[in-house]
Amino acid sequence: MSAPLIEVRDVGRQFRVRSGLFGQPKRVVAVDGVSLSLKPGEVLGVVGESGCGKSTLAKVILGLLEPTAGEVLIDGKRLAGLDRRERAKLIQPVFQDPFSSLNPRRRVRDIVGMPLEAQGEATAGEVRKRVEAMLERVGLDPSMGERLPAQLSGGQRQRVAIARALVMRPRIVVCDEPTSALDVSVQAQVLNLLAELRREFGLSYLFISHNLAVVEHVATEVAVMYLGRIVEQNDAETLFRDPRHPYTKALLASVLTPEPKLGIPETGLGDTMPDPTNVPPGCRFHPRCPVAIERCGLEAPATQRKAPALVECHLATIT
C-alpha cells in the first residue's frame, strides 16, 4: 500500500464572527476533528450540505487557511513547512465559481502561465509553448490565449482554470465543486476531461460536490460531511448502494432525478437547519434526524472505523 498523498489529522477550523457593533462574538465551527487520507490514484469525493465546511476543509488542505487544530501532511511533509513553489508543484485547486476564479484583467495566456512564471524556471518561450499545449489539451483553441475571461463562457473559463491547475503537472488537484456552475452537456465534457487527465497524468483528486450523481460517477471513495465532521465514509459503490447513516440516506433520497410527475421529494429532515455557531450536544445530527432516539441527544456517537468504512451513529454499524 502506497503512502497517502494527503493526510489530514484531526483538523479543526473555527471562525469568529460578530453580529452588530456590540454583539457577542460567536464561534463558527466550520471543521471539527476531521481525519482523512487520499491515496495515489484515488478520487475522494466529499459531499454534504451547504455550510458544512467542505470548502473550509479544501482551503485548509490547500494551505489557504490555517487550521485551528490538527495538521495536514502533503506527500508526507507538513503543509505549513512547505516552500510555496514546492507546494504548488504538489497540489493545485480548481474552484467552483468560473466568474471569480479568473483575474478579469489578465489574458488567458497569462492566467494559465502564472504557475510556471511563479516557479521561475522556464523561459518565456517554453512557458508559451507549454501554455498552448495545455490549452489544446483541455479543448481550447490556443488562439483563445489572447482573450480576457469576460470573453469566455462558463465552461470555457472552467477549462482555463483546469489548464492553470494542470500546467505544472501537480500530483493532487482539489476540485471544489468544479462543475456546479456549468450545465449538463458542459458538465459531462468537463467530467470526462477530468477523468481523462487523471489517467493521463496519474492525478489524484479531492472532489467536492453537492451533486451526488456526479460524485457517484467520478469518486472511488466518498466522505459525507455534516456540520464540520465526517459522519460516514466508504468506497463509492458501497456507500451509494448501502448507506448507513440516516443523513446519508436522506441525502440520497433528495436527489432530483429527471423524472417528471414525481414532484419535489420531502427530505424528512425538518425545518431546523444546522447552525455551525451552535453545534448541538450529543450527535450533531439529532435535531434533524428522522430516527433519533433519546441517547442521540445526550451522547456523541463514537467513530466506528473499519477501512475503508467509517460511520458515526448510534444506530448504525459497520458489517
Binding site: 451547504s50 450545465d183 449538463v184
Partner: protein, 323 residues
C-alpha cells in the same frame, strides 16, 4: 387566462453577435416556466432584457414585451426601476456580484423595501428577518448583521431569494437559483418556491441547467439553443417525447443516480454552442447534430406535433420518432 409575462420575438445583439434570436416565452400566473439550455444560449440575457438590465453594449428588440398586459418595451428607466424589485424581482446568477460586499445583508435587504414601499428601516428589517427565517436560515437576526463574504454559497443564495421576495413580487425571475446548493437544501428551496407560488400566485421564470430541477418543478419548459427557443412544451411531454435532437442530446448527458457506469464516459453533445452573428441562416445546431440533412442550412420550420408542443427542426415528428 392571459399571461403575466409575454415575450414575443425577442432579439438581443451585442455588436455583431446575435445573443437571442426571435425568442417567445409566456409565463402565466401561478405557473413555473423553465428555461434550459447550454452556457451561452442566451438564457440570462433574455431574463436581463425582460428586467431592462442589459449591459450598455446590448441592443434589445422585440415584437412585444408585456407585463400584466402593460407594454414594458417602451418604458423608460424610471418606470422600469419602479417595477423592478417591486412587482417583478430577479435572483441573479452570480450572488457575489449582486450582493454588495461593503454592506450587511440586513441593510441591503431593507433598502429594497424602503425604496419601493417607503416603510421605516425598522419595519423593513423585521420583514427581512421574517423572510430569512422563511427561507430556513437559522438565527436570522445574526445573519442580518453579517457581510456577504461571511456566508457560505448556499446561505448567500437563500439571502438572494429572501431579498427578491421583500416586496411580494408577482413575477420572480430566478437565474440558476439552486445551482450552488446541495440536494437537501435544493429540494427544500424548490418546495419553498412551490409553496410561495401557491400562496401568492407567483409566476416564476426559472433558468436552470439541471434537468432534474426542470422535471420536478416546471409546468412548462422552453429549451434554448444559440438564442432560439428550439422546443417548448408542457413538462411531461418534453421528457416523454422529446422532439428536437438537442433536447434529446441534453437528456443523455445527465448522470442518473442508480444507473451509473463509472468506467464509461458520460454521453455528451460534441462541440460547443456556436457564436451566431447577424444574418445567420439555417439551424444553429447543425454542426453538432447527428441527424443533420442538407436542407438544415436553409430556413427551418417550427413544427407542432401536439397542441401546446412545438419545436424548431427540419425533421418532421413522424420521421423523428423512427430515427
Amino acid at each position: 387566462m392571459s399571461a403575466l409575462l409575454e415575450v414575443s420575438g425577442l432579439e438581443i445583439s451585442f455588436g455583431t453577435l446575435s445573443a437571442v434570436r426571435g425568442a417567445s416565452i409566456e409565463v402565466r400566473r401561478g405557473e413555473t416556466h423553465c428555461l434550459v439550455g447550454e452556457s451561452g444560449c442566451g438564457k440570462s440575457v433574455t431574463a436581463l432584457a425582460v428586467m431592462g438590465l442589459l449591459p450598455n453594449n446590448g441592443l434589445r428588440h422585440a415584437a412585444a414585451l408585456r407585463f400584466d398586459g402593460q407594454d414594458i418595451l417602451g418604458l423608460d428607466e424610471k418606470g422600469m426601476s419602479r417595477l423592478r424589485g417591486d412587482r417583478m424581482a430577479m435572483i441573479f446568477q452570480e450572488p457575489m456580484t449582486s450582493l454588495n460586499p461593503a454592506y450587511t445583508v440586513g441593510s441591503q435587504m431593507a433598502e429594497v423595501m424602503v425604496r419601493h414601499r417607503g416603510v421605516s428601516k425598522r419595519a423593513a428589517l423585521d420583514r427581512a428577518a421574517e423572510l430569512l427565517a422563511r427561507v430556513r436560515i437559522t438565527s436570522p437576526e445574526m445573519r442580518l448583521g453579517q457581510y456577504p463574504h461571511q456566508l457560505s454559497g448556499g446561505l448567500r443564495q437563500r439571502v438572494m431569494i429572501a431579498m427578491a421576495l421583500m416586496c411580494e413580487p408577482e413575477l420572480l425571475i430566478a437565474d440558476e437559483p439552486t445551482t450552488a446548493l446541495d440536494v437537501t437544501v435544493q429540494a427544500q428551496i424548490l418546495r419553498l418556491l412551490a409553496d410561495l407560488q401557491k400562496d401568492l400566485g407567483l409566476a416564476i421564470l426559472l433558468i436552470t441547467h439541471d434537468l432534474g430541477v426542470v422535471a420536478r418543478t416546471a409546468h412548462r419548459v422552453s429549451v434554448m439553443y444559440a438564442g432560439e427557443v428550439v422546443e417548448s412544451s408542457p413538462v411531461e411531454q418534453l421528457f416523454e417525447r422529446p422532439m428536437h435532437p438537442y433536447t434529446r442530446g441534453l437528456l443523455s448527458c445527465v448522470p442518473v443516480p442508480g444507473k451509473i457506469r463509472r468506467d464509461q464516459p458520460l454521453g455528451s453533445i460534441p462541440g460547443m454552442v456556436p457564436h451566431v452573428t447577424s444574418g445567420f441562416e439555417g439551424c444553429a445546431f447543425r454542426q453538432r447534430c447527428a441527424l443533420v440533412r442538407p436542407d438544415c442550412a436553409g430556413p427551418i420550420a417550427r413544427r407542432k406535433p401536439e397542441v401546446d408542443h412545438d419545436y424548431l427542426c427540419q425533421i418532421a415528428p413522424e420521421d423523428m420518432a423512427t430515427s
